[in-house]
Amino acid sequence: MAGWTNRGKRNVLDERYRATTLPTNYYVALCRSTTSPTADINTLSELTQISTSTGYTDGGIQLTKNSTDFDVLTEDDANDRALIQIKDLVWTASGGNLDSGAGARWAVFTDHNATVGSREVEHYWDLSSDRNVSDGQTLTLQDCEIRINES
């Protein structure tokens, strides 16, 4: 299950129609299955990130607001929706398994805040099962999409 949080919906509307300050960057974080994201999640502190000592940086991979990092934009008149895709994201385990626990179950899109736990969760993607990789191996996410539908 992938989706928007209500905080994400609010932020998009607020930024678009009230011209509030945009985040300097966005991030994709990896979270364990401990808590499943829902539309009601607000901040990253409500979820549990994977461990940070073996290839995963606290807060996840940083995205810049440009067409390099958001590399496919689709306007779909056949289905009355628009979609944007994020570039391929790669984490490489170094010095042990990427996560000391069962692994990542969720990829989570957040805004920027110097306090990582206070970053607002705007979108999330279910990785279907706990994903972990061993030392030297990579975990790659491709074609993560953010969609706006008519209904």
Binding site: S67, D71, V72, T74, E75, A78, D88, V90, Q142, D143
Partner: protein, 146 residues
């Protein structure tokens, strides 16, 4: 990359001048290359997926560049794996416009999965062919409608 003898994404998609001009106006330093996909693009994309599944060809159009820091075969492996999960009936249904199905027809879900896979396949292929960010306009049509 991006094309085989029978599947050339840059010939199937049409440059979208209107959206390209709009992009140039709104983000002159950060443009995408825009294309329009008509309904006619879907059938050759489905045919191409079936060609790969039947083992007649490799999905070379999905093989990326080493320079990206990503396994260049990752997308080809992933999308081929996804393609194998669908049934022949799903691909057959995807060859038929959505308007041919009555609402509630049980074939619609499988058809939608095949159409979405075709979109993902084509999108990845054209992104690789262009070698940079792309914009995709899917025209209003019953072929791409889920």
């Amino acid at each position: 990359m991006g094309k085989t003898k029978s599947f050339d994404v840059l010939k199937l998609a049409k440059p979208d001048k209107e959206r390209q001009a709009r992009d140039a106006e709104r983000a002159p330093d950060d443009q995408r290359t825009w294309f329009t996909l008509s309904g006619a693009v879907l059938a050759p994309t489905i045919a191409r997926i079936l060609q790969v599944l039947e083992g007649h060809d490799q999905a070379v159009e999905l093989v990326g560049s080493l320079a990206d820091g990503v396994d260049p075969f990752e997308a080809a492996k992933r999308l081929t794996r996804d393609a194998k999960r669908l049934k022949a009936a799903d691909y057959a249904a995807a060859m038929v416009p959505r308007s041919e199905f009555a609402d509630g027809d049980p074939a619609i879900a499988g058809r939608a999965a095949a159409v979405e896979l075709a979109r993902a396949w084509f999108t990845r292929a054209i992104k690789i062919a262009v070698g940079g960010p792309v914009g995709i306009h899917i025209a209003k049509c019953d072929e791409w409608r889920l």
